[in-house]
Symmetry: C2
């Protein structure tokens, strides 16, 4: 049970998992939250959706948010040839992961943002720029990292529950890849019996 009384998912007989719980509780704030995440992770960008999901996953892992690191890790894997090993490595051992040097420099920036905005230094930005990162990529990396510092706190600060079965996340990830973040939450909201 979360810290507050959340709507019950009919097919589960209990609260919707993770962020979907508070999002069904307060659809007014869920709408702009989902729009923001859709633009950042799925909108037009020179970073692939899989790369952006790795940034989200890395930050969520740093914040020890089980739900967010697992669902975004599953979405990342779904967009990176189902390479779940790579996703795991992008969490704790990202410096040695088979990702581009530019993405490593962006993950470094994201990790600094997770600690706090002031941890990002001129040298972090210079390193990313030297590896070809553009202003827009640096901007989006900082904002994705900041957004997940929000989402992770929203999910854990309300004491929401998270399923343990990885298959649940794989199935949900496939829906997200196909329909996006807003659609999934709207589907959940439509099931709520009020």
């Amino acid at each position: 049970m979360a810290w507050i009384e959340l709507p019950i998912a009919p097919e589960l007989g209990r609260e919707f998992p993770g962020i979907v719980g508070p999002m069904t509780f307060r659809p007014e704030t869920a709408a702009p939250l989902n729009e923001l995440v859709n633009i950042l992770l799925r909108g037009e960008s020179t970073l692939s959706p899989g790369e952006r999901e790795l940034i989200a996953t890395h930050v969520s892992w740093r914040n020890d948010c089980f739900f967010c690191q697992t669902i975004h890790g599953a979405v990342a894997a779904a967009q990176l040839n189902h390479d779940e090993e790579l996703v795991q490595q992008a969490k704790r051992d990202w410096l040695h992961a088979e990702i581009s040097p530019k993405l490593k420099a962006l993950l470094n920036i994201a990790g600094k943002v997770q600690q706090g905005g002031k941890y990002v230094g001129e040298e972090d930005i210079a390193a990313a720029r030297q590896l070809g990162a553009t202003d827009r990529e640096i901007h989006d990396t900082v904002l994705i990292a900041a957004v997940f510092c929000m989402c992770n706190r929203y999910v854990d600060g309300l004491g929401t529950w998270a399923p343990q079965d990885p298959d649940i996340y794989r199935a949900r990830a496939a829906q997200i890849v196909e329909h996006g973040y807003s659609a999934v939450t709207e589907t959940a909201a439509a099931q709520v019996v009020r």
Copy 2:
């Protein structure tokens, strides 16, 4: 100069201050960000706008974000009889501030969220509930705190600048109280010479 090249504000001859800089750089993400903040801080609620701005100010102070704590502090004061002393006290000495016991319990929760979602404990929620906090008030407190952990990182993670003159923040706060957050950013964006 921020870490990335931001649009120049004609009347300043330099970048727009604080979050307005990156928001004019990327209006697509600014729109849902402003909508989210408008709903949480200015929308219908049993917490007054001034109380909600105090939560935003407290979290921004804890994150040492000068721009956010100063602008939201000014917006709070504008809605709390211009009591700037109270706003200062709600940062570091909130337990002794002249605010309701319920708001103190909510500020305690917000401070835990700032540290990380898992710092919020059953006893924090129970204390707030005992002082009359509703599920919706607890939800909104957690989400406001989480949102400002995002905004603070967005502002400082991109190395934006902040004016030092308190009068600038007082004037901007009056505009925000009258027109809201989206309107202020849209006005800035309209001034950008591209």
